[in-house]
């Protein structure tokens, strides 16, 4: 791991296509006069082979955007594609299969099935699909994440950081087209959080994966290639090659005042690793 996120320069795998796309994506809750628009006609392209962060204050619709892109939630209007597949209008069974085979997930907490050990959790999506994992790839993922000696452990025997690493390994294991990470560092201390962000970075740089991360932490967003800023259900801005300070500054700008919990932000310059 030689690259500090803040100084990242897009690699060769960056611009060879679109992993996911939304057009006129609208999500409304309630009806009539009480309608709340969580997403208001959002157009977005998620570039393949890049690390995209979605930022915004609470209620800005960032989680809803991720849920709709990942086929977890249905949309009120608009269209969503995963690769060439339009997923809006798919039935539950097809969506389930799509999530299983083509998408990887990391959540903020409760990422692992407590009754399964680390190895079983990592291969779970493939086991569910009845597919054999690609052993070579799996070994590479496990070694990259440093989980070799933790494979037989149950989640309750792992630290929070280790649990998120296992979740990360699970998301990578089936080599999905797209990995969604919903506040993956939200429950971790800053050191463990940095580790996880580093792994997501490596997944993009070294393993050629595509990652979309929802976060409200400017420090975390600084590890990405591109930050999308969401406000009131719209994409209000974007920032290439972000740094923590720049992101924080931009956030202040939207909100006018102190936007979010800056006390959670990691130090602006992550420590270098040899």
């Amino acid at each position: 791991m030689s690259t500090a996120a803040a100084q990242y320069v897009p690699g060769p795998a960056s611009a060879d296509g679109v992993a996911a796309r939304a057009r006129g994506l609208t999500k409304a809750y309630g009806s009539g006069e009480t309608t709340v628009l969580a997403l208001d006609a959002v157009d977005v392209d998620i570039a393949r082979g890049r690390f995209t962060a979605v930022m915004g204050p609470s209620g800005s619709g960032k989680s809803t955007l991720m849920h709709c892109l990942a086929g977890l939630d249905n949309v009120s209007a608009g269209q969503v594609w995963l690769g060439d597949t339009e997923i809006t209008g798919l039935k539950d069974r097809e969506l389930t299969r799509l999530r299983r085979d083509r998408i990887g997930f990391m959540f903020q907490s409760f990422n692992l099935i407590p009754t399964l050990n680390a190895a079983e959790n990592i291969t779970l999506p493939m086991d569910i699909a009845g597919k054999k994992p690609d052993e070579k790839w799996l070994d590479q993922v496990i070694d990259t994440l440093g989980l070799r000696d933790r494979l037989a452990h149950r989640p309750s025997q792992l630290s929070g950081g280790q649990q998120q690493r296992v979740a990360c390994a699970r998301a990578l294991a089936s080599r999905p087209e797209l990995i969604f990470a919903d506040e993956p560092t939200g429950n971790l201390d800053s050191r463990a959080g940095l580790e996880v962000l580093g792994f997501l970075r490596d997944a993009v740089d070294q393993l050629g994966q595509t990652v979309v991360m929802v976060t409200h932490d400017p420090g975390a967003a600084a590890h990405s290639d591109l930050v999308l800023f969401l406000g009131d259900g719209r994409i209000v801005d974007e920032m290439e090659r972000p740094t923590a300070e720049a992101v924080l500054e931009r956030m202040r700008l939207f909100a006018g005042t102190n936007p979010m919990a800056s006390d959670q932000a990691p130090p602006p310059e992550p420590p270098e690793k040899g």
Binding site: H67, A70, L72, D73, D92, R93, T96, R97, R99, R100, D101, I103, F105, F107, F110, N111, L112, I113, P114, T115, L116, E120, T123, L124, P125, D127, I128, A129, G130, R170
Partner: protein, 855 residues
């Protein structure tokens, strides 16, 4: 605090639904059986009290009969004239009333009840107390006319003018139906046939000057008790029994009581099973609710509620559940009683549901049972709730219950289990039936308790094996369902325990009954030497005429008659033993193989002699050649000499002990008038069994009350009788399974709620609904099969020990019905699948996003 409790109760009412159902079932069975038996006994009390004469005089039955001898006790009809002169008697009437006659229609089918209730032949002497009134036709006159009751007439499609055959003690005779009578009171279920008095006297009791009882009416101002005293003084004889109307009603109800008691005890058995199994369900529900509310309870404690308040809050919730459950259960019990009364109606016993009696004891019992069950079941969970520390409010602990060690359970379980095992070993090695039976009961109870306590400890090893193939067969889904079942051993243990209790009972009973069947088969093969046996399925004696017709049948070689009689023997050690003895015709050896320790059949059946079992003789100090005083019915006494001692495997049972028998001639000398209970028939030389059978069937065609059976048929008859016991057990099992299914549904449903986030995660990463359902189904199956394995293992042990007790009664064979056991195993897997239906559906319908966000 009370407000918080009420809120909590209402908030969880969905989750308490199944627990409430368990309470309702228990209470419904208790209340239903009480209401039913109260109603029936009140109805019959009233019926018999209203129809009984002020005082009834009957011949004294000195020995109560367990097996009917067929003997009808009579008194002289002229006694009525004598009693009419006693001061205080307004009127005296001789009555003739004979139970156990058979009336056949032109198709030679019995018109009597198919329920086993008797057909009663009565002399027509209507009074204002008669339970029937003449509604069409006219009263019988002469020996060719009868009237029958309207219910029987409707049931068997008999009309005025139809010709019937009456088969009475004195033989059969043709009659014409000239009248129909209708019950003005409750019909207790018997068929009634009325004759004129001379016909009843000559044809039914064979004594033109006899009667079966005398009814006395009291003169004005004389009480029943007073009348009874005066008549007793006038009679001055111990040969008669006098009963006032109340006493007569009581005695009649008592006779009917055996049947009613059976229904009552069966119902209470159901209630017991429901209570027992329901407790597990409620314990589980409360444990889970409290586990799920650990943080909430911690918060209450942090806010200053003390332990007592928390415990009281949970118990109050339980009492509310009990209150609601008992009330609904009481209502359901009334419904159940109505259903039972209707059922009795179908069987010919017409009780009006409007006359339903709900004594004050019924609601009291219902609430005691309902509240008691919930209180007891919620007590331990309530204590655990009180033990929640205020820190739990802050901790992120998932579920507090999982990790607690099972050490205490291990210790208590093994101590109780060891005591139970010791009792069972003691039972298996005991040599006396009484001590073996009580050791068996103790052992069964202790091993059951031990298994319930230690159940959670067995969850891990047993389910590891049972679900061992799951990961290989079903992949991750199989692995997760197996581990989910292992996740909380207490919960799995308690859920399975409900099923275990029922299946253990069934396992034990089926081994015992299979062993009984096999033993009876072996005994029949060994001892029955006759080609054919002619008898009644219920061992009800039949008239002599039938035996004579058998003798006259072509191809019949030897006929040996058997009669039963009730006797009391006074033994040298001072014991007076009342028992049923058998009386055979000579040539017994031709139709039965009896093993004698001393003496032989000839000596046993010789005039003035008897035979008895050698062990019984030893116990009571009787030797070959001893003289024993024997008391026959009607206070006839004799001194009989012990002519033989038998060494039979089975000497006791069916109300008899000591295996006493003697010659039929001896019986007829001391207690004449009995009827044959069975007739053994051998073919004449040169006649084939099939020919003889055809001949006998032709002979017996006009007599619907008896059948001809060879050894195989005889075995079938015995099997059928044992099967009745099994049906009851299966019905109990059915109930236990229903509640156990409720328990599994309950546990799974609550588990699904508890694992909402996990399920959401699984769905998010691609678990299909179908796969999710399968996962829950497999968990359910493994829990159910676990319960079945435990239950059947326990049941097998009980069954084998029960057989050891039966062996002391001569039932030596042990049979294990593997077919039944395999079927029950498969059935329990099906139970698991069924129980998982709703929880699995619910889990698969969960909204993925809501599940992920679930806190």
């Amino acid at each position: 605090m009370l407000k918080a409790t009420l809120r909590s109760f209402l908030a969880h009412k969905g989750r308490l639904l199944l627990s409430a159902l368990a309470v309702i079932l228990s209470v419904a069975f208790v209340a239903g059986s009480l209401i039913f038996s109260d109603t029936v006994s009140r109805t019959f009390d009233r019926l018999f009290a209203s129809t009984a004469a002020d005082v009834t005089v009957t011949p004294k039955e000195t020995l109560d009969e367990t097996i009917p001898s067929g003997q009808t006790l009579t008194l002289p009809a002229s006694l009525a004239d004598r009693l009419a002169k006693v001061d205080g008697v307004a009127a005296a009437r001789p009555d003739v009333d004979v139970e156990g006659i058979t009336v056949a229609d032109k198709d030679r089918e019995s018109v009597g009840p198919t329920t086993g209730a008797p057909t009663i032949g009565t002399a027509w002497n209507p009074t204002e107390r008669s339970p029937v009134e003449l509604t069409s036709g006219h009263a019988p006159k002469g020996d060719g006319q009868v009237m029958i009751d309207a219910d029987t007439a409707d049931d068997k499609d008999v009309r005025i003018g139809d010709r019937l055959t009456v088969i009475g003690q004195e033989g059969s005779f043709p009659v014409e139906v000239v009248g129909i009578v209708t019950f003005t009171t409750t019909n207790p279920g018997a068929a009634l046939v009325f004759f004129d008095t001379p016909t009843a006297q000559t044809k039914l009791i064979g004594d033109p000057k006899g009667a079966t009882s005398i009814s006395l009416d009291a003169a004005e101002g004389v009480s029943d008790a007073d009348l009874k005293r005066r008549v007793a003084a006038a009679l001055d004889s111990g040969a008669y029994e006098l009963r006032t109307a109340d006493e007569q009603a009581e005695s009649d109800v008592e006779q009917l009581g055996g049947f009613l008691d059976i229904i009552k005890y069966v119902m209470l058995g159901f209630a017991g099973v429901a209570v027992l199994v329901g407790v597990f369900l409620i314990v589980n529900t409360f444990s889970m609710l409290i586990a799920q509310r650990t943080r909430e309870l911690g918060l209450l404690r942090a806010l200053g509620a003390d332990r007592r308040q928390v415990r009281r809050s949970v118990l109050t919730e339980a009492l509310l559940l009990g209150l609601v459950g008992s009330t609904a259960g009481l209502a359901a019990g009334i419904g159940l009683a109505v259903g039972l009364i209707e059922l009795m109606g179908l069987m010919g016993m017409n009780i009006r549901t409007t006359e339903m009696v709900i004594g004050w004891g019924t609601p009291v019992t219902a609430y005691v049972v309902g509240l008691g069950v919930t209180f007891v079941a919620a007590y331990l969970p309530a204590r655990r709730a009180a033990g929640v520390s205020p820190m739990a409010a802050l901790a992120d602990a998932e579920i507090a219950d999982i990790g607690r060690p099972l050490r205490l359970r291990a210790i208590v379980g093994s101590v109780v289990g060891a005591a139970g095992a010791a009792a069972l070993v003691g039972c298996a090695t005991a040599s006396k039936t009484s001590s073996a039976a009580s050791l068996l009961g103790l052992g069964v109870l202790l091993t059951l308790i031990a298994t319930v306590i230690a159940g959670p400890l067995l969850v891990r090893p047993v389910i590891r094996v049972l679900g061992g193939a799951f990961p290989a067969v079903f992949g991750s889904i199989g692995r997760m369902s197996q581990r989910n079942a292992l996740r909380n051993p207490r919960r799995t243990g308690a859920t399975a325990a409900a099923l275990m209790v029922g299946l253990a009972l069934v396992g034990g009973m089926s081994v015992a009954s299979a062993s009984m069947t096999k033993s009876f088969d072996q005994q029949i093969d060994k001892t029955l030497g006759a080609d054919f046996v002619v008898q009644n399925a219920n061992f009800v004696p039949f008239p002599r005429e039938i035996t004579e017709r058998i003798r006259d049948t072509e191809g019949v070689g030897l006929v040996v008659r058997l009669q039963f009689t009730t006797i009391a023997v006074r033994l040298p050690d001072g014991d007076r033993v009342k028992t049923t003895a058998a009386a055979y015709e000579p040539k017994l050896d031709e139709v039965a193989n009896i093993t004698y320790a001393q003496g032989d059949s000839a000596a046993a059946l010789a005039a003035g002699h008897l035979a008895m079992d050698k062990d019984f003789a030893e116990d009571h100090g009787v030797r070959l050649g001893s003289t024993v005083p024997v008391e026959f019915q009607g206070d006839r006494r004799a001194e009989l000499t012990v002519g033989a001692l038998t060494d039979q495997e089975s000497a006791d049972g069916f109300g008899s002990q000591g295996g006493i028998y003697f010659g039929l001639a001896t019986l007829e000398k001391y207690a004449p008038g009995g009827q044959d209970a069975a007739v053994y028939v051998n073919a004449a030389s040169g006649t084939g069994a099939d020919d003889l059978r055809a001949g006998l069937e032709k002979t017996l065609d006009p007599y619907p009350q008896v059948q001809v059976r060879d050894i195989a048929d005889y075995k079938d008859l015995v099997h059928d009788q044992i099967a009745v016991l099994l049906y009851l057990v299966y019905a109990l099992l059915g109930l236990a399974i229903i509640i156990a299914v409720l328990g599994v549904v309950n546990t799974l449903a609550l588990s699904v709620v508890e694992r909402t986030r996990e399920i959401g995660l699984l769905r998010a990463i691609g678990l299909a609904r179908r796969q999710l359902r399968r996962m829950i189904r497999l968990e359910s199956v493994v829990i159910a099969v676990f319960g079945a394995v435990l239950g059947l293992a326990l049941g097998l042990v009980w069954g084998v020990c029960t057989q050891q007790v039966l062996a002391l009664q001569g039932m030596n064979a042990l049979a294990i019905p593997w077919g039944t056991i395999v079927a029950v195993m498969i059935g329990s897997a099906v139970v698991g699948v069924v129980a998982a239906l709703l929880p699995a559906l619910r889990a698969s319908r969960m909204n993925v996003l809501a599940a992920i966000a679930h806190e």
